[in-house]
Every structure is written in structure tokens, then in C-alpha cells.
Subunit: 491 residues, 2 copies
């Protein structure tokens, strides 16, 4: 397969697809809508998981595991929830196969029909709150601060690798609290954790905000999200945190005795990010040459390629590389030495550019003589020759610089792609000609929101948590408005 | 719920069940046969995962992720495989629910029937080898050394927490090789990794061996297992590694061009351990007071309990505990300080004994005066008063000692529970009166093996890899035999 990617400005969507496949991140499987996450893609996901898991634990959470299956009857208990998920549920109806009596292969054994069908979890609020009922009697049992790393299934009709797949990997936090205030605080705390992760690790600026009623999680009182901007000017919702009020406690009869001895329903939150973050990461920074990975999430941060003509030269180079590698590893920098002799340096350079390795070192016989090494950075594609003596210090600084630079580049891009508009005509013009985030006044009604969506496909991404009060009129209805909200086309 | 466990000698099985529930490790869920792994249990599993994952990576493996679903037709492609798993498959037949037209709740939408049913993976050989077909053309694409951490479902009729559940968590390695020798070597390498993990981390001695044809994995040419002995004298298969030959390559048409330019089918292995290891860990060491955890897998290795009468004393104790904790953490020792004032020290002592925390420190006003701390170890239940000055060094040494002691205790127990027998009568006597592993001669036939199983319930656990050639006669048939094999009743 050619390493060439379709250029972004020719066909952005094809560029993304090419990149995911050619950088060996993921591919479609034989099962409709389900992907195979390949080792290089999974290594990035593992880096994300490790950091998120650390951040969850630092904020007092513990991990647990709940069943993959949800009895169908649980699903109907919270009215909005079932409404939101019923149309995309994979359903287990039987528990046995048998030999096909008419010939080859196997058939579902009709005698092994389940009394009650089981839903593959699309999210776990129902099975978890049914469990919490037995864990909570008194305020002393609260809060419960649990996270789960799991696979979930939502039978999406149109799927795209990482961005929307029938099965995906995610984490889902499910917390239980004695007071509304505490649950609201948890909801906000976790959207902040997600924003911090997106910005400090993915190098991807995000806007935190509240979703409108239409866009809320099915069963939530309030949904916060982080919204990132992709290079094609579309928004990508990258994480959500939901204040669920007492909805699930009421649906599953989860009561507790509070400090005053009175009985009350428990307050809930849930929050999640998924392998969709991989899609965000890929699209946020990469270019027509391939992936650009922030050093903090790169499976290996440095690749070293030996440049030599005679086999005898390789031994001396490898010895020097051994020294360099040891020094880099001592600083916690991950390194791959690619001394495979079946590929030429030029092929390797292209390969590691495609895979987004932040720093590439090339070292040849002349470098050995001069005590130098060639350093190439992936983000700017610039090369320089550097003395080998303090290479570890140099690379450590360079990795920090790359991490910052990638973030700054994405931030600058976004800054140029947030437009304030005051008329519906301008709104439509910006959407067609520029894209990006649009800050505009809205009258607060679902009706207006849906009309705008119908006419332009743009949605209200969120009501940003940071905003200025400003009197204006709704771009669609002309009714008065107190603040601007964030519109965009989205993934 | 009372903290008291049913004593082992009264009802071992009830003791296990009590312990899993009361130590907050896991519980049954609302879904038949599926468990909820609670935070304390999951924390132990995370420790296991982290160590195994490190060992897999050190032996050259990488992680990836394949779909939860397997098309039904894939399943039939390897004849033995489908035979082995067809009877316990959860089957997805529909992908949508809709409102019940007759009233409340939801029903499966009959219009959303899948063309081909999907099986929830009971193991992933079929979906993975179908994928490998596209990844492998030449010997240069080999070996593929992939592991997957995942949930799997086997619709077991009789389930027990951790030991046998319909859904369980596991890892499954799936490797592809250019030669038979390399695949056989991989199969052996991984059973050695499992044995090393069981002995060095779980402190659980195991016997490595080959399974008989009857007990092999469905589709394998050779299955190696590690067999551990539980305190009730029953064996527990704790991990398996399979040499699959070219069976799956043939079933899924996975060919490659070898170094000589000839086409051949690819050689395969697979290997796995699951949350069943949790059951093994619990049963291997624990006693009538609760869990006994090896320090290397304990969620926290040290718990500190303050002993005080007046609130004013707590501040001074907590200050000293802060110093101790800092010193312990600097050595990589995990510590929990339980200064909750809602529970008395006696309650806490019982609680942490139940939870198997390896070392408990108690510290009161007199200890502050004397510069001492009371140290209690969970394995022997012995206490001593120790100077606080070098407490970190002392505890570090103690944790090593406990890890060793637990292993040695299990090893001594097992040594006394391996019996050589030469007659069928002795075999049956030992089985009824003593249990444990029995080394006996066997004629090598499936018929004999099945007869013995039918009459005594004992199975051949394995043909140990380490054995002495020794002429004898089969205890059942009297036919000649060259070696003893390992029998036991098992989980």
C-alpha cells in the first residue's frame, strides 16, 4: 500500500481514513461497524488510559467492573434513558448454538431462548444503579466514586473508525452522593479533569460548556462537554460529564438516610470519554505527511535510524546508539532503535513521519567522527545537527517544546476560527465559507435550535462555562438574549 | 452483615463464598451468572494485570483490540473449535428495541433482525485469524505477537464468583509464526511466564504440564496448563497456553511465503489467564479470619490504625504517621492511614484482617513517648513492638519475608498433598480420605481416562513437564506405562 495520503485540502475525510489505515492505527473488521484497534493505535490508547486513570485516582475514584449485559426490563425504568438508547441496542436472545440439522455449520438453538432478553450495555447507568441500591443505606455509605473501563455497543448506522463505531472502548464514571451540591461539584470536577487531559496531554484546546436540553445525555438534568475544533472547521465533542439528579435513584429505588435521619433519594453523576479521543487526537494535529503526536502520548518519543553503507559501520553506530538510548531512558524518554537492514533510511524516515514519532535521530559514520547526531522534529519537520554529549538534556527540552508548540498551533488555529456573528445571514455565510466555532445570540428555545439545525446542520455545541453577559437578539427569532452560545457543524 | 466467616473445615465452599462477599471482592449481579467485581477485588485484579502486562511486553508482545462480536459463520470454520464452544454461546440476533405496542416498557423490534447472528466472543481465535489473513503475506510479516485484554462470555450453567462466571475478564495472546518450532517455543515460553507470575507474585506454587487430548482447548494440538492446589485438596487450572498448529490458518486460509519462496500455512499459539486467578489467589492462602494477600498483589501493603482516647491525642499521632507514611512511600510501599473516627480500633483490626492487608501498624500515645509502633503481620497473625526510627527498612524486609513465607507455606502444604499410588484401590482411598494431587501410572488411552473420571470424578490435570521416566502399569487397565501423570479432583 502506498504511504501517500490524500491531501487534506483535497478530501479531508479521505485523508483521515487514509491516515488511520496507513499509520496502522485501526481498520474495519468483518463485523459491521466494529473496528480492530491495531497495536500502534492501541499503544496510544494505553497511554491515554494510563494518564486518565491516574487523574481519576488522584481525584478519589476507584475502578470496578459491572456486567456487559443489562436485562431488558432495567432499560425501561428511566423513561428518557430508554428513549435515547432503544434504537441502537444489540440484543442477546439465545444462549446456545447447535449443529445445523440440514447440513453444514451451526444454527441458533431455538430451545435456548432467554426468558428475558439481554441488552449489550450502551452505557451502564441502569445496571450500576440497580447494584448501588444494595450498597447504600446511610449517608455514611456515600459518596461512591467508581469508574469502569469497558467496551460498550451502540448500533450506529453510519460508522467511521474511532469517531463512531458500533463497539467502542471507554471509561464511565458513576458516582453517588448525599447532596445535590456535591453531585453538581463532581460533575464540574470531572469536566475539568477531561479539559486538563485534553489540553495538557493531547495538546488539544477545548471549550467547556453546558449542553442544551436537546443535546443532553438521555436521563441527565445537565450535561457538560468539552468541544474541540478539528482542522476542517468542524467541532468534535470529546468528553461529557452528566449531572443525573435523582432520576436513576428514583428509577431504581436507591434511598439513603441522611444526617438528620430523614430518607432521601441519592444524587448521581456519570462521565465518560472513549476511543473517540483517538479520532480527535489524530485530526487535531496531523498533516499531509501523517500523524503528529504530542510527546506525552506517543508510544515512543524518539526513533533512532542508523545511516551506513557497510555492515562494519553499523556496529560502531549501534554502540553509540546504545549509549544515547541509555541516557534517554534514564530521563524517562521512550526510544526505538530501528536497525532493520531490510529497509533503507529514506523508507524509515517516511514511515516514522507517517507514524508521528515526535523526534527522529539519524546517526552515521561522520556523526561518530564529529560527535554529532542529526535531530529532526516531526511537528515542524526541521532538522539540525547537535552535539551528542548532552543529547539527553537537549531531547528532553525539545520534547517539552514540541508538546507546547503543538498545543499553541492548535490554539492559534482555533483563535482564528471563532467568529462572532449577529445576523442569520452572516451565520450561514461563515458556516459555508469558513466553518469553525460561531458565537451567536440564541433565544433559548428548542424550537429555534432545531430550526437552525434543520436549515444549516449546525448545532449548539454548548453554552460555554466561561462567557460574558451581553445583551443581544437571537440570530434566528430576533428575540432578546443575554449571552452568546457556541454553534458549529460537528462530527 | 456479620464479619464472621464459615470455618473452612466446616464448609469450604461456603467459606469461599463468605470470604468473597465479606471482603468486598465481588458479588453476583442481577444478570444470571455475571458478577460485579467490587473496587477492592478490582484493585487486586489491576495489580495482576499490571504485572502480567509488563511480563508480556518484556517477552516482546504488544496489545491490540478485536471485536466483541464474531459472525456465526466464522465459528463453524474450525470443526473442533465450534464443537467445544457452541453449547455456551450468547447470541445477538437483533439490533433495536421499540416501545411495547401493548403497553409499558420495550420489546425487541422484529424488523431489526440481523441477517447473520453474532456470537459474543467466548475466545477470539476465529475473529483474529480472519483478521490476520490480511496482515500476513510473507515471512517478513511474522511473527505477530499480540495480546488482548478483554471480556468474554461462556454461558456456564453452574457459576461461582471468579471461578466460573458467564462473563469474565481475561487476556488472550494470539501469535502467528513462520515455523512450527517457533510456535512450540512460544507456547512453552508463555506457560513459563504464567508459572513465574503464579509463583513469584501470587506466591502460589504450580505444576506445569501438558493436557491430555480430552482436556485440550478446542482446536489445539497441544495445551499446556499450570495447575495449583487449593486448601481443600482440589486442583485449579490457573492458566493455559495452546499450540494450535496450522488449524486456524487452514480454517481461515492464512498463508505466507516462506524464506524459500514456497507458500505455507501460518503456525499459531494462543494463551490466556482470567479473573479465575482471583479465585485461585483467594483460596491458596486465606484462612478463617479472612483473606491473606501476598504483598506484591495487595492493593495496599500497610494499614496504619491510630489508638487514642482523646481527640487531642490524634493530632500528635497523625503527625508521626505522616512521617512514617512518607518514609514508606519513598520505598515504594503502599500505605493506608485509617483515622476514621466512626469505627473503633478493634473493628478496624478485624476489617483489615478480613481484607488481607499484609502488615498492620498500630500507634498510640505510649508509642509516641517510647518511639515505637506495634507491627502485626497478617500471615502469621504475630505482633511485635518495633522502634520507629528504621521502620521503613523493617517493613520493607518484613514484606519480602511475608511474600516468601506465604509461598513456602503453600509449597509445604502441596508437598504433603502429592501422593504416589500404584493401585486403583489406593487411588480411590486417597481421593476420598486425603485429596490433593495423585501421581499414578496411566495407559495413555482416552477410554481409561474417561472411565476413571466417571467412577471417581478425578481427572488427569496434566502430564507434568518435569518428570522421571519410570516403568509401571496403569492403575486402571494394568497396561504398561512409562511415566506417572497427575490426577486430582478439580474446580
Amino acid at each position: 500500500m502506498s504511504k501517500e495520503l490524500t491531501p487534506r485540502n483535497e478530501n479531508y475525510s479521505q485523508w483521515y481514513q487514509d491516515l488511520v489505515l496507513k499509520a496502522d492505527l485501526a481498520e474495519n473488521s468483518a463485523v459491521r461497524g466494529c473496528m480492530v484497534i491495531k497495536p500502534y493505535g492501541y499503544a496510544i490508547w494505553e497511554k491515554m488510559q494510563a494518564q486518565l486513570d491516574t487523574m481519576f485516582k488522584e481525584t478519589g475514584h476507584v475502578n470496578a467492573y459491572f456486567p456487559l449485559f443489562i436485562p431488558k426490563s432495567f432499560f425501561s425504568k428511566e423513561a428518557d434513558h430508554v428513549e435515547g438508547f432503544a434504537k441502537e441496542c444489540a440484543v442477546v436472545t439465545h444462549y446456545r448454538l447447535k449443529k445445523n440439522p440440514d447440513g453444514k455449520g451451526v444454527v441458533v438453538d431455538p430451545d435456548a431462548k432467554l426468558e428475558e432478553e439481554l441488552i449489550i450495555r450502551p452505557t451502564s447507568e441502569t445496571i450500576i444503579w440497580n447494584t448501588y441500591r444494595n450498597w447504600i443505606q446511610s449517608y455514611r455509605d456515600l459518596p461512591i466514586l467508581i469508574n469502569q473501563w469497558a467496551n460498550v455497543v451502540r448500533w450506529e448506522m453510519r460508522t467511521r473508525l474511532f469517531l463512531r463505531t458500533a463497539e467502542f472502548l471507554w471509561q464511565e464514571g458513576h458516582t453517588a452522593h448525599a447532596t445535590k451540591a456535591e453531585a453538581v461539584e463532581e460533575t464540574r470536577k470531572m469536566i475539568n479533569v477531561y479539559a486538563e487531559f485534553a489540553e495538557d496531554y493531547m495538546a488539544m484546546p477545548v471549550i467547556k460548556g453546558a449542553k442544551t436540553e436537546n443535546e443532553r445525555f438521555a436521563g441527565a438534568i445537565e450535561t457538560y462537554s468539552i468541544e474541540a475544533l478539528m482542522q476542517d472547521g468542524k467541532a468534535l465533542q470529546s468528553g461529557t460529564s452528566h449531572f443525573l439528579g435523582q432520576n436513576f435513584a428514583k428509577a431504581f429505588d436507591v434511598k439513603f438516610t441522611n444526617k438528620n435521619g430523614a430518607e432521601d433519594y441519592v444524587w448521581a453523576t456519570s462521565w465518560g470519554v472513549s476511543t473517540r479521543l483517538m479520532g480527535a487526537l489524530i485530526m487535531a494535529h496531523s498533516d499531509d505527511n501523517g500523524l503528529v503526536l504530542p510527546p506525552k502520548l506517543a508510544p515512543f518519543q524518539v526513533v533512532i535510524v542508523p545511516i551506513y553503507k557497510k555492515a562494519g559501520q553499523l556496529a560502531a553506530i549501534s554502540e553509540k546508539v546504545g549509549e544515547i538510548t541509555a541516557k534517554l531512558k534514564a530521563r524517562g524518554i521512550s526510544v526505538k532503535y530501528d536497525d532493520k537492514d531490510t529497509k533503507k533510511p529514506g523508507w524509515k524516515f517516511a514511515e516514522y513521519e507517517l507514524k508521528g514519532v515526535p523526534v527522529r535521530l539519524a546517526i552515521g559514520p561522520r556523526d561518530l567522527e564529529n560527535g554529532t547526531v542529526e535531530v529532526a522534529r516531526r511537528d515542524t519537520l526541521k532538522k539540525e545537527v547537535v552535539g551528542v554529549a548532552n543529547i539527553d538534556e537537549f531531547i528532553a527540552g525539545l520534547l517539552d517544546e514540541i508538546q507546547e508548540n503543538i498545543y499553541k498551533k492548535a490554539l492559534d488555529f482555533r483563535a482564528g476560527m471563532i467568529t462572532k456573528v449577529d445576523t442569520y445571514q452572516d451565520f450561514k455565510d461563515i458556516l459555508s465559507n469558513k466553518g469553525g466555532f460561531i458565537l451567536a445570540h440564541w433565544d433559548g428555545s428548542s424550537e429555534t435550535e432545531l430550526k437552525i439545525k434543520e436549515e444549516t446542520k449546525a448545532t449548539i455545541r454548548c453554552l460555554p462555562l466561561e462567557y460574558e453577559e451581553e445583551k443581544g437578539v437571537c440570530i434566528y427569532s430576533g428575540k432578546p438574549s443575554k449571552r452568546r452560545v457556541l454553534f458549529a457543524l460537528s462530527y
